[in-house]
């Protein structure tokens, strides 16, 4: 278990069941997984295979039925609802398929949003947000509202927002799902760059093999369990 300590994300014997109309629907069954620091993992699998559940568990948005989720050394099961909120604001970056920017806030303000939860002063927040926008190449769009941006630009703002608090782990849920090929390419370039230059650990759920190919590692989920998918298989696809 030498890599346990080094892992940013560790799922230990995690199971997750949903109840629907009194029927147990198992989503993840007794899964164990380690994701080391600096990794860039793509998670693929058919609908209902448990991809999103995996992300939600890592984000502490959902709790496992059994087992432990440990992120950056913190067992999420030990945290209260309020504790989880704070923990998320300090450790996580989130990217969604539909960007989920606040439509009434400008790009700059959207990026600043998670910084409001830190003790940073106003001027520092501005600087951080500006830097994050610069990384995604949108510093000239700081005062634009989401509706004035293209889909690709919106997603880049969302990435900047995810970066703003310098997260340990970046979770991306189908980040290219709503984008055209060119924009998707730009977004993926950005993720790879983040992973390379800043060593940010990324877990990305995707349907798109082209997107998955950009990751360092591929995990394939099938009926709630990881199927063998080593780097060779990924190479083969490439």
């Amino acid at each position: 278990m030498s890599d346990h300590a080094d892992a940013v994300v560790a799922l230990l014997n995690v199971s997750k069941e949903f109840m629907r109309d009194k029927i147990h629907i198992p989503v993840l069954s007794n899964t164990t997984l380690h994701i080391p620091r600096g990794d860039f993992v793509a998670v693929m699998g058919p609908s209902g295979s448990g991809k999103s559940t995996l992300l939600n568990l890592c984000a502490g948005l959902d709790r496992p039925t059994t087992g432990n989720v440990i992120v950056n050394g913190q067992d999420l099961g030990e945290l209260s609802e309020a504790g989880l909120s704070r923990w998320r604001s300090e450790n996580l970056g989130f990217i969604f398929q539909s960007y989920n920017l606040m439509p009434v806030l400008t790009a700059q303000e959207n990026v600043e949003l998670p910084l409001l939860l830190t003790p940073l002063r106003r001027a520092e927040r501005r600087k951080h947000a500006g830097a994050a926008l610069a990384i995604v190449g949108l510093e000239d769009r700081a005062d634009h509202y989401p509706r004035q941006l293209s889909g690709g630009q919106e997603q880049r703002v969302a990435i900047a927002r995810a970066l703003a608090n310098d997260p340990v782990l970046l979770l991306a849920d189908e980040p290219t799902g709503n984008l055209d090929a060119t924009s998707a390419h730009e977004v993926l370039d950005l993720l790879v760059q983040l992973n390379d230059q800043y060593g940010t650990t990324i877990i990305m759920v995707t349907h798109d093999p082209k997107a998955a190919r950009r990751a360092k590692r591929l995990l394939h989920l099938e009926k709630g369990a990881f199927v063998q998918a080593d780097i060779d298989a990924l190479e083969a696809v490439r």
Binding site: S52, W87, R88, S89, S98, N100, P103, V104, L116
Partner: protein, 387 residues
Amino acid sequence: MVPFKYNLRSLRARKVGSLMTIFGVGMVVWASIFAFGLSAGLDKTLEIAAGPLDVIVMRKGSTSEAVSAVSDEVARDIIALPGIATNRDGRPLAATELVIFGYLPRRGQTQKVNVAVRGVLPVSRELRDGMQIVEGRDFRPGVREAIVSRAMSERFQGLGLGEEFEVRGGMFRVVGLFEAGGGAVESEIWTDQSVLAQLTNRTGAMSCVQFRAASKTDQERLINRIKADEQIDLNAMTEEQYYAEQAQQSMLIKIVGGMVAFFLTIGAMFAVANTMYGAIASRAREIGTLRALGFGRFSILLAFLLESLILCTLGAVLGCLGALALGDIRTGTMNAGTFTEVVFAFNFGPSVLLSGALLAVAMGLIGGLMPAIRAVRMRVVNALREV
């Protein structure tokens, strides 16, 4: 904390809906202020009327001057009592006064209503602080001349400067208009006591005695002294008590006003709740995102409560401005204590406006609470997927 501008701009984004709600809340606040202003105006008029050291002496059991009688001998004894304040000439600030009902039509109407006509002595004027003639001149003693308040002269037929009116078969000419800072005396017609007494065959007794005590202790002592005298069978009370009792008779206006405010506020609460439920339903994804970014439940609750408060506060501002825009409305109604017309101005003072605004705050807090709780209880995972 979720930034303030997020709420502000969200309200702006739903422009029509927000404006409608603000307008609705505004109307409710306006109507409540209107109702409060009416009863507060009436109260204030009666409150101004009372001088803190002034005492009114009437027959035991009488609740208003017009139905009271105090004989001249007794009145002389009372006026001679020590402890009554004196004026510059060293004469006691005390006077008998004669109050009778006049029966006059309002301008533009034929139906007549009761108005108070007060027969006074020269010293009576000194018992009313702030009373001064603003147009014309004072009445001369011994002739049928009268002065009336400006408010009364605008409201009743025959009370304009230079016009004539009838009381108990006698014609009086209005020779002057006075103002008295909006007190109850502004609902009266003043004339010479002897003229009025002669006209109404009142001899040997006037309606009441009014005096100003030299100090609070004197006031208390004098009141007790008069009350204790079994022989004269009179009741003395401070003017404050006298007018407070009259104000109590206007309960109906107060109850109606309170009812208006109460039911409208509850109705508006439902409306605000509706607006906020709508806002929260259409912003489920935003709420989910905020939670995913690490905003806690409490921040979300606060944010949406704040949003509903902003709505209602804007409504309150609108309602207050609407009330102030009405300006200085003078009106009159029957003083249920004396059965005479009392003229007064609506009171849209700070405390009335504030109570209207407080209603709006209640609407915002209570109306916004259930929706905000729903926002908090929303499951983040589902909310994020909501389209």
